[in-house]
Subunit: 525 residues, 2 copies
C-alpha cells in the first residue's frame, strides 16, 4: 500500500498503554538465516521478462575472489531468492598499499529491471529516500563490510567509484542475514496437481514470508509499515500458511491502541521507532479493522481480545454513521476516501456501499460473540443497506450494479456486491457471468489487491475455472515475467507500468498480492 498523501495534523489520538503493552507481548522473535549468494550474473535483453530485462549466469561466486576491480568496474550478484535482510561482503585490496579510501556504490534490487534506471532521474511523488542505494567509503582494508541497514532484494550491484591507480580491490563471500517473523520450512509443499498453481502458491508464501517482520509490513522495500486494509488480506493468507496468529493480534492491538479521539482507526501505523499512528484515514480501511478482528476470532477465538477490541470496532462503526443515510445509502466523502483500488478513474460509491454491507455482517457476527444487545440494531441497519443496494443500485434490466450519479457500471461494484452477498447465490452467479461477458477482460486495474477481490468473487459465485484462469493470467503472468515475490502493482495490459515513474521505487514484494495462498486453500482444497 502507498497512497496519495493526506496531512491531518489537527487530529488528536488516544494512546492506550494497556493495549500497546499487549502489542508488545505479541511482538515476534525475529528468525535470522544466513544466505550465501548463488551466482554472479549479467543483465540480458529478454523481451519475455519485465521491462525487457533478463539475467544470465556470469560465473560462480567463488570466482569472485580471483577477480580484480578498479575505478568504474562493477559486478552483479544474485542471492538466488528474494530476501529481506542485511548484506555483507568481504573486501581486500590487491597491489600497492592502500593510499586512499575505497568508494563503492551499492544498489539493491528486487527485480533486474531496476538496474535500468538511475536514481538521479527519478522525479516521482514518492520519496527518493526509498531508493535502495548507498555510497560507501571504506578507509581501511581488508574489511568484512556489514551494511547496517535492512534491504529487500535479490540482486546487488557493486560499483567501484574509485580506489587509486596503485591498487585494486577483490571481493569475496557476499552473503545476507535474512530475516522474518516466520520460518518457511514449516510450510508443507503445495500439492494442487498443477505445476502452475503450485508455483503461484509458493510465490505467495515467499511474498508473505518476506513481509512478516516486526509487524505485517505492506512491502519490506518501501513503506515498510502496517496498513489496515493490507493486514486484512495478509492475516487471511497467514491463517492458510504460517498461521502465526500472534502477529495478527499484535497488529490489531497497535491499531486499537492508537485510535483518533473521534473513534477513527488510522489507515496505517508506524512501529520502527516509537509506535505512531499515521494521520491518514480511509473509509474502507477503517472498516476493515472490524473485518480483520472477526476473521481472527472465527479462526481462533479469544475472549480477552474480543473484550478488548470489539468496543474499538464499534467506535469505528459509530463514527461511520454520519456517512450512512437513514434509508441505508452510503454517502462517500472526499475527505474520508474509500480506497477500493489505486485507480481514481472509476466511481467507488457502490463499492463503498458493498464494503459497508460486507463489514457490517462481520460486525453482527462479532456482536453475536460478544452477546451485544445492539446486534438487533445492526441487523436492522443491514437490511436498510441491502435494500438500498438492491432497489437503488441494481439495474435489473442490465443485470449489473450501477455506481454514482452517472450510473457507471464497473467491475469493482459487481465484485464487492458479490463478496457482500447482497444477492442470493443464483443471482450472484448471474451477476458474475454478466460481469465476465461485459466487463472482461479487465482494464484499468493496477493492483493485485483489487484483482484478489475479482478472483474471490469468481470463486464465491461458482466460477471455479474462471477463478483459476484469472489467477494464472494475473499472478502466473508476474511469475513468467520473472517475479520471485508478487508486486505491489501490476497491470497486465501495461506490464512495465510503474505508478511512480521509476521501477526503482516499485515494491516488488508486496503482501497484499500474496492472497493466492488463501484463495487456493479456501476454494481449491
Amino acid at each position: 500500500m502507498a497512497f496519495k498523501f493526506q496531512v491531518n495534523l489537527d487530529v488528536k489520538f488516544n494512546h492506550n498503554a494497556v493495549f500497546l503493552k499487549k502489542a508488545d507481548k505479541y511482538k515476534p522473535k525475529i528468525i535470522y538465516h544466513q544466505l550465501s549468494a548463488k551466482q554472479l550474473i549479467k543483465l540480458t535483453k529478454d523481451e519475455t521478462k519485465l521491462d525487457g530485462v533478463g539475467v544470465s549466469n556470469a560465473g560462480s561466486v567463488n570466482e569472485l575472489k580471483s577477480k580484480k576491480f578498479g575505478k568504474d568496474d562493477n559486478f552483479l550478484i544474485d542471492i538466488g531468492q528474494h530476501c529481506v535482510g542485511k548484506f555483507q561482503i568481504h573486501i581486500d585490496h590487491v597491489g600497492s598499499p592502500m593510499d586512499a579510501p575505497l568508494t563503492l556504490k551499492i544498489r539493491f534490487a528486487e527485480m533486474p529491471n531496476e538496474f535500468k534506471y538511475n536514481s538521479k532521474d527519478y522525479n516521482g511523488w514518492l520519496s527518493k529516500s526509498w531508493m535502495q542505494e548507498e555510497l560507501i567509503h571504506v578507509d581501511n582494508l581488508p574489511v568484512d563490510l556489514k551494511l547496517p541497514r535492512r534491504y529487500s532484494f535479490r540482486y546487488v550491484e557493486i560499483r567501484v567509484v574509485d580506489t587509486s591507480p596503485k591498487w585494486s580491490v577483490k571481493f569475496s563471500d557476499p552473503r545476507v542475514i535474512s530475516q522474518s517473523a516466520v520460518n518457511k520450512v514449516q510450510i508443507p509443499k503445495s500439492k494442487f496437481d498443477d505445476n502452475e498453481l503450485d508455483k503461484i502458491y509458493e510465490t505467495g508464501v515467499n511474498t508473505l514470508h518476506d513481509c512478516m517482520q516486526d509487524v505485517f509490513e505492506d512491502g519490506p522495500k518501501r513503506d515498510r509499515r502496517l496498513w489496515l486494509g493490507d493486514l486484512r488480506l495478509q492475516a487471511l493468507a497467514n491463517y492458510a500458511s504460517f498461521n502465526n496468529t500472534n502477529l495478527v493480534k499484535r497488529c490489531l492491538y497497535l491499531f486499537a491502541g492508537m485510535t483518533a479521539e473521534d473513534g477513527r482507526i488510522s489507515a496505517n501505523v508506524f512501529t520502527n521507532n516509537k509506535y505512531i499512528p499515521d494521520d491518514t484515514f480511509m473509509y474502507d480501511y477503517g472498516l476493515f479493522f472490524i473485518s480483520t478482528l472477526d476473521d481472527l476470532l472465527k479462526h481462533e477465538f479469544n475472549q480477552e481480545i474480543l473484550d478488548d477490541l470489539y468496543p474499538i470496532a464499534k467506535k469505528q462503526w459509530d463514527y461511520d454513521q454520519k456517512f450512512i443515510s437513514d434509508d441505508g445509502k452510503v454517502i462517500t466523502d472526499k475527505d474520508y476516501i474509500t480506497f477500493v483500488d489505486w485507480s481514481q478513474d472509476f466511481d467507488k460509491n457502490t463499492s463503498a456501499q458493498a464494503i459497508t454491507i460486507f463489514v457490517l455482517k462481520q460486525l453482527i457476527d462479532l456482536a453475536g460473540m460478544a452477546e451485544d444487545s445492539e446486534k438487533l440494531k445492526y441487523e436492522n441497519q443491514l437490511n436498510k443497506l441491502v435494500n438500498y443496494a438492491e432497489n437503488k443500485l441494481f439495474d435489473h434490466k442490465k443485470g449489473l450494479f450501477i455506481s454514482g450519479p452517472n450510473k457507471e457500471i464497473n467491475v469493482a461494484s459487481q465484485v464487492w456486491m458479490v463478496l457482500a452477498h447482497v444477492l442470493d447465490n443464483e443471482q450472484n452467479h448471474a451477476l458474475m457471468k454478466k460481469t465476465q461477458t461485459e466487463l472482461f477482460p479487465i482494464k484499468g486495474i493496477a493492483t493485485p489487491y483489487m484483482y484478489h477481490h475479482v478472483t474471490q468473487a469468481l470463486f464465491e459465485a461458482g466460477f471455479r475455472e474462471a477463478g483459476i484462469k484469472l489467477m494464472k493470467e494475473y499472478w502466473g503472468k508476474m511469475i513468467s515475467l520473472g517475479a520471485d515475490t508478487y508486486w505491489e502493482a501490476f497491470e497486465p495490459e501495461h506490464p512495465n507500468f510503474s505508478p511512480y515513474g521509476n521501477a526503482m521505487v516499485n515494491s516488488f514484494c508486496h503482501a497484499w498480492s500474496c492472497t493466492p495462498v488463501w484463495l487456493l486453500n479456501k476454494y481449491l482444497n
Copy 2:
C-alpha cells in the same frame, strides 16, 4: 605531499618488531575538544578570496532549529575554525509521521571555494575517494547523527535529498569533536611586533596542530599519512612550538622499522590500519631520514635512539653510494627521483648534489655523536662532493650554479647550494643577491615546500628583510585569500590553480606549509 604514483611490488621489506614496538611506545594520546558551530553562512562572490568565493553570515546557529528543510533545501555551517574531527548534528522531523527515510548529502570543505565544484565532474589523477562527501540515509528520527569518519574541514554543507511530502526536517546543535596529538593552549601567543607576522605564525601553528595526529600527517584531508620529507619540516616547526618530541621519535621508528631489504627507506608509511611501508622511494626523501634524526638529536639528545637509528641512517647512505661517482658527482636516476618540488619543468641535478651535501654534513654530525670510525670516510666524500659542486657546477662568470646537461640556471639549485653551505658566507650572500636580481620574482614553483627552502636560503645568506618580504608575499597572500591553515599547493601567479583539476581534492591544511613557525623562531627571535 602527494606525488606521481610508483608501483614497486617486488620490493622486499624488513619488519623490525623491536623498532615498531618502540613506535607504539611513543604513540600519542589524542586530545579531543568539542567545538560548537559558529554561524550559518552563505557563499558570496568575492574576487579578493580564493577562486572568487567568500562567505557572509547567514544567521546564528541557534536560529537553525526554527527552520524547516524539505527536499532539495540546503544550508551551510561554519565551524569557525579549521579542524580535524568528527561531525555531529541533531535532526528531528516536523509535520506528519515520518513515512520514508531521510536522505542527506553532507559535504565538508576546508575552503569555501570547494563548494563551487561537483565531485561528479572530477576526473583528476588522485582518487575520487578523497572527496569529503557522504550520502546518508536516516531511517528513524529524532537522531543525534554522529558521522563515524574523520574529516578535515571548517565548513559543512547539508543538503536534504528527500524527506517525503508529508514532513520536513529541522536541525540543531551542529558540533565537532576535534582531535590532535597536541593542545593549542600550550603555545604562547606570538610577539613579533608585526601583526602580519603574528598572523603568519599563528596560521602555521594551526596548520601543524591539525596535522599532528597519530603520526605527523602530511594533510589530514587527503593523503593523511606520514611522508619522510614532510616529517623533516614538521619536526622542525614542532620543536619551535608544541615541542612534542615523542611524536618525532615515533615517526622515525616507523620508518626505521620497515626499511627495504636493500637499505632504502620508504618515502612514506601507512599507519591507519596495520603499519605498512609504501612502495614509493625518492632519493631526497630517503636521505632526509638522516637529516631528521640529526635534527632531533641536536634538539634533544637520546643515546638509545642514536644507537637504534644511526645504523639505519648509514644503510640508507650506503645504498645511495651507487648514485655518487668517485669524483663526487651525484648521478640522478629516473627510477629513484629527487623530488625537490612538484614541478617537473626544471632540472634537478644540481639540487640533488646540494641536498646530498646538506645531508652528508648531518650524517657526519651523527657519526661524531656515535663516535663512528667511518666519520673520516664521510668527510673525505664530503670534500669530493663539495669540490665537484664548486668546480663543475658553479659558473663563476655568471655567479650562479648551473644544472644538468643544458647548464640550466634555476632557483632551486642556488637555494639548495646556499642551504648546503657549499660556498662561504660571503659567496652565499652574493649568490642569493644574484638569485634575487636574476631569478625573482619566482615563477613556476607551486609548493610551500620549495618556497620554504627559498625563504630559508634568504635568511641563511643574510637577506633578513627579503626573507620577511617573501614570507609575507607568499604565506601572507594565502591568509589574505582566506586561509585558516596553509595549503599543500600555492602558486601566487596562479592563485586558483589546483594540481588536481578540482579544489575538492586540494589539501588546504598541509603540514609542509607550516614552516614559518620555525623560520620566524629561528631567524627573527
